[in-house]
């Protein structure tokens, strides 16, 4: 774990608002010179706090109108290894997020689809046929804030 001071936290807040800013712009937003901001950002990257940057695409503009969160229970724990399930689910391109969780489900998945019939196809052909899959609950995302 990395010790952070108020300036580090301010940098993280600014970058969370806009990940495309360079060190000079980040510095300007919080009252640091470009080199000072650059050094701190580098330190946050080396300390593993900032893992990287990724491009944000407009899902709707690219034809992906549906996001569904799935809760998955494995049917036969132990018989089929978790690794088999994890390997197969990660290979599905429409699955963006796979989280192993503790609670009423074993895994949480986020799936993107073009529309509801596309989602149905993914659910039937890809998800329900995964090794060891048991009960699956779907919740379609309507909106997101924060």
């Amino acid at each position: 774990m990395m010790e952070l001071d108020d300036k580090d936290r301010a940098i993280i807040r600014v970058l969370k608002g806009d990940g495309g800013l360079n060190a000079g712009e980040v510095g300007k937003a919080i009252g640091l010179t470009q080199p000072a901001a650059w050094r701190r950002i580098k330190r946050l990257e080396q300390g593993g706090v900032i893992l990287g940057r990724r491009v944000q695409l407009n899902k709707g503009a690219l034809g992906f109108d549906v996001v569904v969160y799935l809760g998955v229970k494995l049917a036969a724990k132990g018989r089929v290894g978790l690794e088999d399930f994890e390997r197969a689910v990660c290979a599905i391109p429409e699955v963006q997020l796979v989280q192993h969780v503790l609670g009423i489900y074993d895994y949480r998945l986020k799936v993107v689809a073009r529309d509801l019939s596309d989602f149905e196809r993914i659910l039937r052909r890809r998800i329900m046929t995964l090794p060891g899959v048991g009960e699956v609950e779907s919740n379609v995302m309507l909106s997101e804030v924060g």
Partner: protein, 147 residues
């Protein structure tokens, strides 16, 4: 060609324009024009940083799945407005399904989580039921679209 550019950008968001041009097999001028067009058209929204909250000392991440008392007409709005004021609450999503809302809560440890849960979460308006899933490990996390 636009798809090829987007695929390379999805793979590595830190690429410079000349690296991107080289991978996509374009001159950097042509590549720059295409990226700018995709930005103006709103296909590329921007860039985001990927943060590791565990490295910042937030060891516990819990996903709460909440059903609201829908007999109250303004339940959603009032709940979301109040939940957004809790600093440890990350994304809040409204859902169509068995649960109405899901949201992320990050805490330093289990005692801190307990404090947030008892002190803040359970005080939110119009809650009918709360289910919690605690993150053990993240097996895959990408924003990449199958394009």
């Amino acid at each position: 060609m636009d798809r090829r550019i987007l695929r390379h950008l999805q793979e590595d968001g830190s690429l410079t324009m000349s690296e991107l041009a080289e991978r996509a097999g374009l001159s950097s001028g042509a590549c720059w024009r295409r990226v700018e067009k995709l930005e103006v058209a709103g296909v590329i929204v921007g860039r985001e940083v990927v943060l590791d909250y565990r490295a910042m000392g937030y060891a516990v991440e819990v996903f709460l799945r909440i059903t609201l008392d829908k007999t109250r007409s303004n339940a959603f709005d009032e709940f979301i407005a109040a939940a957004q004021k809790i600093p440890e609450v990350g994304a809040i999503q409204t859902l169509l399904g068995r649960v109405d809302i899901r949201m992320d809560v990050r805490a330093r440890d289990l005692a801190h989580y307990q404090e947030i849960y008892k002190g803040r979460i359970l005080g939110l308006p119009h809650i009918n039921d709360v289910e919690a899933l605690m993150l053990i490990s993240e097996v895959k996390n990408t924003e990449a679209l199958p394009i």
